[in-house]
C-alpha cells in the first residue's frame, strides 16, 4: 500500500519533470567544413533546455552568431581550446549576440571580431562564465569596442572572463540592472571594466591591469536608461593601468587618461572599498562630473553620494596623462594625490550646501592623499582658489547597498 503510494508519488514527480527532461538535448558542433553554417543552425534550432556544445578546435567564422532561444547553455571545451575566430568576419556588428533569457555562455573564446565580442541585448538572467574575448593584435583603434557586452539586460553575471584589447571597454555593462562582475581579468583595453547607466552592480575580485583606465563607473545623458545608482566596487586589484588611450575620438572613454585606476563619473550611491591600487600614473581614484555639454533635463551630471574607504594605495599619480591629467595636476601638483574629486556640484549647491546623502566621503588609512580640486571656483576665481587636501574634512559614511543577488547564482 505504502509502496504503491510512493510509486504514485514518484510517477507524479516524473510526469512533472519529464516535459523538461525529455526535450533537453545536447547539440554538439565539431570543427570542420561548414562549421560556420552548422553553428548558426545549431543556435537557431536549439530548443529551450538544450545545451549547444562547441567542441574544441578553431572555428574560422565569416559571419556573426546569434541566439534567440530561452533556457539554452552554449558551452565550449575551454577558453583556450574552443576558439571562435572572426578574423575573416564580413557581416554583423558582433561575434555572438544573445537576445533571449536564462542563457549561459561558458568555456570558449571569441577572437578578433570586427565589432563587439559577445553581446546580450534585452536578456534576463544572462551568464558569461570562463570566456576569453581577445583582439590578438594587441591594443589598436581598429579593434572592436566592447569585449563582454551585456546591454539593456537584467540579472547579469560575468564570472571568470578574460578580455584583452577592446578599443572601448573590455567588460562593459550598459543600461542594465542587477549585475555581478567578479573573478575576471581585463587587460590592454581602453577601459578594463565599465558599468554605465546601470542599477545595482557588484564588481569584485577582478584584476584590471595594463588598461588605459581600470574600472569606470559612468552615467551618460540622452539614453533610455540613465541615473546609474547603487554600485559597489570592492576587493579588486587595479594595478599598472599604463596603456596609452587608443579609443577612437568621439567615444566618452577617449577622455580617460592613461594611468586611471577607478573613475566614478555622475552616478548615485557608489561605494569603492577594499581595493588594491598601485602603478596608476594619473590617479588611483577620480570622482568627477560629466564634462561635456549636453541637452537633457532629466540628467544629473554630478556624482551623488560616493563613499571611498579601506582601499590600499601603492605608488601612483607620478605621470598624469592627457588633457584630464593636466587639468588635475595643474591644480593638485604632481604627484597627483591618491584620491581626486573635481569638487563640482550643481550651481545652487555651490552657493549653499550639498545634502548629506549626496556628498563625497573618504575614509582611508593614515597617509592616503586626497584633493578636492574645487573646479567651479578654479574656473571662476583661478587666482584665489587652492584645492582642499585635508582628507579629514571628508570623513563620514553612507549606508551600503545590499549585495546583488541573481537568480542564476543561488547555488554557489
Amino acid at each position: 500500500m505504502r509502496n504503491s503510494a510512493l510509486r504514485t508519488l514518484v510517477g507524479a514527480v516524473l510526469a512533472l519533470a519529464l516535459p523538461v527532461v525529455a526535450f533537453a538535448a545536447e547539440i554538439r558542433v565539431e570543427p570542420g567544413t561548414d562549421a560556420n553554417e552548422r553553428l548558426v543552425e545549431a543556435l537557431i534550432l536549439a530548443e529551450p533546455g538544450d545545451t549547444v556544445t562547441i567542441a574544441a578546435g578553431r572555428y574560422a567564422l565569416t559571419d556573426g552568431l546569434s541566439l534567440d532561444v530561452d533556457d539554452v547553455i552554449v558551452r565550449g571545451e575551454g577558453p583556450d581550446r574552443t576558439i571562435l575566430s572572426f578574423t575573416g568576419q564580413t557581416g554583423s556588428g558582433e561575434g555572438l549576440l544573445v537576445t533571449s533569457n536564462r542563457v549561459v555562455l561558458e568555456d570558449f573564446a571569441v577572437e578578433d571580431t570586427k565589432g563587439d565580442g559577445v553581446k546580450s541585448k534585452g536578456s534576463d538572467q544572462i551568464t558569461f562564465r570562463n570566456l576569453r574575448v581577445e583582439w590578438t593584435g594587441g591594443p589598436k583603434a581598429e579593434n572592436g569596442a566592447y569585449g563582454v557586452y551585456p546591454v539593456s539586460s537584467k540579472n547579469v553575471l560575468v564570472d571568470g572572463v578574460l578580455v584583452r584589447g577592446a578599443s572601448d571597454a573590455g567588460i562593459y555593462v550598459g543600461q542594465s540592472e542587477d549585475i555581478v562582475v567578479r573573478n575576471s581579468r581585463a587587460e590592454y583595453n581602453v577601459a578594463g571594466i565599465e558599468i554605465e547607466n546601470s542599477f545595482r552592480a557588484d564588481v569584485y575580485k577582478n584584476v584590471a591591469t595594463h588598461n588605459t583606465g581600470g574600472i569606470l563607473i559612468f552615467d551618460l545623458p540622452n539614453l533610455p536608461v540613465q541615473g546609474g545608482h547603487d554600485i559597489r566596487v570592492f576587493d579588486n586589484d587595479v594595478v599598472d593601468n599604463d596603456t596609452p588611450n587608443f579609443a577612437p575620438e568621439g567615444n566618452i572613454v577617449a577622455i580617460v587618461p592613461k594611468g586611471m585606476g577607478i573613475m566614478v563619473m555622475a552616478n548615485r550611491n557608489v561605494h569603492v572599498f577594499g581595493n588594491r591600487l598601485s602603478g596608476n600614473a594619473t590617479a588611483h581614484v577620480l570622482i568627477a562630473a560629466y564634462p561635456e555639454e549636453y541637452d537633457d533635463d532629466a540628467y544629473m551630471f554630478v556624482p551623488r553620494g560616493v563613499y571611498v574607504h579601506g582601499n590600499e594605495y601603492g605608488e601612483g599619480g607620478g605621470a598624469p596623462d592627457g588633457e584630464v591629467g593636466k587639468t588635475i595636476s595643474d591644480v593638485s601638483g604632481t604627484p597627483v594625490p591618491d584620491i581626486v574629486w573635481d569638487g563640482v556640484t550643481t550651481i545652487p549647491e555651490y552657493f549653499s550646501w550639498v545634502a548629506a546623502e549626496n556628498r563625497v566621503y573618504v575614509d582611508e588609512a593614515e597617509g592616503t592623499t586626497f584633493a578636492n580640486l574645487k573646479m567651479i571656483s578654479q574656473l571662476l576665481l583661478p587666482w584665489s582658489t587652492a584645492p582642499d587636501t585635508d582628507i579629514s574634512d571628508y570623513k563620514g559614511a553612507l549606508p551600503e547597498p545590499k549585495p546583488v543577488e541573481l537568480p542564476q547564482d543561488q547555488a554557489s
Partner: protein, 368 residues
C-alpha cells in the same frame, strides 16, 4: 505477418495518414487551383513552412513571380537599400479577413496573412527587366502566436526556391553602376539567417512587419487593371479595414524625388533604412538614437548627440549629426562604410548607397 504488423505501428500509421492526406490535398488543391494556383493556408500555418516556395501556393508561377489568386502585389514609396537588389512585394490575406489600418505602425494583419518579398538582380542595372536573377524570397507569416520569418533561396536553374535556415552568401556581378558601368561590380550578397531576420524585424522582442505602414503604402501602384492608390485598392479589395482617404493618411515621399522637400526625403530614407533598429522599442534602443519619421526630439535624432557604443564606428567624430558639417557627422561615416563593425545598417548590405549618402550629406549640410 510481422511485416504488416510493423506497418501498423503508431509512427507508421501517422506517416501513412499524412501521406494519404497529403496526396488527397494535392489532388484537391489541383482541382481548386486550376486554372490559377491557390495559397496553401494549412502548409503556411505549420510550425515549419514547406521546403519549397512552389509548395506554398503563393505563386501561380514562382519563376515568373506571378502571384496566385488572392495574392496582391505592392510597393513601398521609399524602400530599404539592399545592395541594389530589385524587390517585388506581395501580400496575402485569407479570404474574408482584413488588416486593420494604423496611422503610424505596420498594419495589424490577421492570422494567416503572409507578406512576401523577392530579391533579385538584373545583369545590368541599366536594363532592369533583362536577365533578372532571383536570389531569395522572404516570407513573413502571421500565425496564432505571432509572426514568423523565413527565407527561401533560389536555385541556380531559377525554377524554385528552397527553405534556408542558416543563411547563405551569393556572389553577384552587377553591371551598369559605378564609375565604369561596363565592368560589373562584384560582391557577396547575404541571405539572412533566421535570427538575423529578427535583428531588423524585432520590435519589443517580437517579429513585426516593417514595410506595410500607411506612410509607405500611401502612393500609386500600377495594377493589372490600372493605377490606383494602394490604400484605396486594399480597401476596395476588402483586405484593409479602417483606412482614411489617402489625402488625410500619412505619406512619405520617394527619397529620389527631387521635387519633394529635402528634409522629408532624408527623413523618409532614415525611417526605412535605420529606424527599424533605431527606435525606442527596437534592437538599437540602447543607442538613444531614434530615427523614426515622426521623431521630434533633435538630440534623439542625432543632432548634437554624442555616441554611446560606437567604438571605431565613431570615425573620430564627436556627434551623430553635426549640423552643417556632413564630414563631422558619424551618421555619414557609418552610412558610407562597408566595413563590419563600422557600417550601418549592420545587416542587409555589403555595398553602400552612394545616392543616398549624397542626399544625407545635402540634408546635414543644410541643417542649422
Amino acid at each position: 505477418m510481422r511485416y504488416w504488423l510493423r506497418l501498423l505501428s503508431p509512427g507508421r500509421r501517422l506517416v501513412a495518414a499524412r501521406r494519404a492526406a497529403g496526396a488527397a490535398f494535392v489532388v484537391l488543391a489541383a482541382m481548386i487551383a486550376s486554372p490559377a494556383a491557390a495559397v496553401d493556408g494549412a502548409a503556411l500555418a505549420a510550425k515549419r513552412p514547406p521546403k519549397l516556395l512552389s509548395q506554398t501556393g503563393l505563386f501561380a508561377d514562382p519563376a515568373a513571380q506571378k502571384p496566385a489568386a488572392g495574392v496582391v502585389p505592392f510597393a513601398i514609396t521609399t524602400p530599404l537599400f539592399s545592395d541594389h537588389a530589385q524587390k517585388s512585394r506581395f501580400v496575402y490575406i485569407p479570404e474574408g479577413k482584413a488588416a486593420r489600418y494604423d496611422d503610424d505602425e505596420a498594419f495589424d494583419f490577421p492570422v494567416g496573412s503572409v507578406l512576401v518579398k523577392t530579391f533579385a538582380f538584373p545583369a545590368d542595372m541599366r536594363r532592369p527587366d533583362e536577365a533578372v536573377r532571383l536570389v531569395e524570397t522572404r516570407l513573413l507569416i502571421r500565425q496564432d502566436e505571432g509572426w514568423h520569418a523565413w527565407a527561401y533561396l533560389w536555385n541556380d536553374e531559377q525554377t524554385d526556391a528552397a527553405l534556408n535556415i542558416a543563411g547563405a552568401k551569393v556572389e553577384i556581378a552587377l553591371a551598369g553602376i559605378g564609375e565604369t558601368p561596363e565592368e560589373p561590380l562584384r560582391f557577396t550578397y547575404s541571405v539572412p539567417n533566421k535570427n538575423q531576420c529578427k535583428a531588423c524585424h524585432g520590435l519589443g522582442g517580437e517579429i513585426t512587419p516593417l514595410g506595410p505602414k500607411a506612410r509607405n503604402l500611401n502612393g500609386v501602384f500600377t495594377y493589372q487593371d490600372g493605377p490606383e492608390n494602394q490604400l484605396v485598392y486594399w480597401s476596395k479589395k476588402g483586405i484593409l479595414a479602417g483606412a482614411p482617404a489617402p489625402s488625410v493618411a500619412p505619406a512619405v515621399p520617394d527619397w529620389r524625388d527631387k521635387n519633394a522637400p529635402l528634409d522629408a526625403r532624408a527623413r523618409a530614407w532614415l525611417d526605412v533604412n535605420c529606424a527599424h533598429c533605431h527606435r525606442r522599442e527596437g534592437p538599437a534602443s540602447n543607442s538613444g538614437l531614434f530615427l523614426t519619421y515622426g521623431e521630434t526630439d533633435a538630440v534623439a535624432l542625432g543632432i548634437g548627440k554624442r555616441p554611446v557604443a560606437a567604438g571605431r564606428g565613431s570615425g573620430g567624430r564627436e556627434f551623430d549629426i553635426s549640423p552643417g558639417d556632413p564630414d563631422g557627422s558619424i551618421l555619414i561615416y557609418r552610412a558610407e562604410s562597408t566595413e563590419p563593425g563600422i557600417m550601418m545598417p549592420e545587416l542587409g548590405r555589403s555595398r553602400h548607397d552612394q545616392a543616398a549618402v549624397e542626399l544625407l550629406r545635402d540634408w546635414i549640410a543644410n541643417l542649422r
